[in-house]
Subunit: 263 residues, 2 copies
């Protein structure tokens, strides 16, 4: 990939995040730029996690990864992963231990950073095409559900896929499949549409994560593989240390969303 | 488009059709080659019909058209449209008058030939990807329905879209959208999926054309724009003379199906 053009908005936002002036939700900020889910693991666990991502590219689409001990993420901009995420979650033995805004004190020479694609990119592409993204229109978090779709296992990493849901009329659902197919590194095409019970979801109004959204008459629920899936796998695997972004508080990169389009 | 490679199968089949030795259904013959719906109209009606096709590209995807009075179809092979379709239907004032296997006696210097894409091409692409196309698996004609989706009007040509239906599990329906999106000149992506009533179809078991097919548990009906749509528009427009292929008895061309893929 050629050198990125300077992206003032993403760079200035990241500068504020780096100093601790911005510690909130990044949704809607630095529009047009890729935001990423972050997973940081000790090297001894990183190989299996990488394989888990490669086996499950729809929920775990790898956009970039770092060298062990290196806080940079080549290709995504001038990034120091120890300071450039607004808010981090620290997991110890698979359980949430604390939430912090800086991990400089926790950094180790064996830590490996993974940056995974996030739905913000494809939501922006859907809206640019004139589709309404219900969770954004209603100003809430997207509803997410633990499905019965099993992920492929890699070492200690296993679990079912978490899916996000956005309602659409059928013709718009077909258009959404086309648009999202262009973006495999941000979850790609939906994994299911129609009857939620077929993937183990009993009640759309009671999501496992996020908020319920309005289903209008004649709409179908459309389900995408979700970046919360690796968190479920991490809870199963129970590594001694794992650091992630806090939900909604993503790594903002300089990469234009259009760079993720394969077509 | 560069010169076509010689395609023995399509050429030898067309040679049999030309002599009258083959007058039947072309489904499954000369696999890998584009087959076309044919509409032949007097020049005075051809302009409006061409505009109807351009306004309604999903049901009426134009693959090629001839010069007035010229029985050839450039780009599709060595074709004489007066002899190279197994069976023709002759419409006078919008009503079916007769069915013949040769139109040499009917040919006029002002006749214009239109070749429109046909679902055989995308069905082949779906099966090549491992999907079951139910009408083929059950050895029947695809079920077709008059929907309430209005076509754009062009002069005397108007009417609602006829749609064909193939059932799929949701994940396969999503895959079918991706595959068919590559082939806009053979109807492209589906126009609807899920609840048939939303496009005015009351009873899947009672198609307006073709045969009903089995819907298995957990399957969604998936609807494509159908090449029968122009026949409905021709019945509305009532041109003094119109010649079409007889359903299922298509023009077999030398064009490989892969040439229609836009990607």
């Amino acid at each position: 990939m050629s050198e990125l053009p300077p992206q003032t908005t993403s760079q200035s936002l990241r500068a504020q995040i780096r100093t601790g002036a911005f510690t909130g939700n990044t949704s809607g900020h630095a529009p047009g730029h890729v935001q990423c889910n972050i997973v940081i693991l000790p090297k001894a666990w990183a190989g299996d996690f990488l394989r888990f991502c490669q086996l499950n590219p729809k929920p775990c689409p790898l956009v970039a990864s770092g060298q062990p001990g290196d806080p940079g993420l080549p290709g995504l901009g001038d990034i120091d992963i120890r300071t450039d995420v607004p808010r981090y979650r620290i997991y110890r033995d698979g359980a949430l231990a604390e939430e912090v805004t800086d991990i400089q004190a926790l950094w180790q020479d064996d830590l490996v950073t993974f940056a995974l694609g996030c739905s913000f990119s494809f939501e922006e592409a859907l809206m640019a095409d004139g589709l309404e993204v219900r969770n954004i229109a209603e100003g809430v978090n997207v509803p997410m559900y633990r499905s019965t779709i099993a992920c492929a296992e890699a070492g200690p990493f296993r679990g079912n896929m978490v899916v996000s849901m956005r309602p659409f009329l059928a013709a718009d659902a077909i258009r959404a499949v086309q648009i999202c197919t262009r973006f495999p590194s941000v979850h790609g095409a939906p994994v299911h549409l129609g009857d939620p019970a077929l993937i183990g979801i009993e009640e759309l109004d009671a999501p496992d994560y996020g908020d319920a959204v309005t289903m209008k008459p004649d709409e179908l629920p459309v389900f995408w593989a979700c970046g919360v899936t690796p968190q479920v796998a991490l809870e199963q695997a129970r590594p001694p240390l794992c650091i992630t972004h806090s939900p909604g508080c993503m790594l903002v990169t300089d990469l234009p969303n259009s760079r993720l389009a394969i077509l």
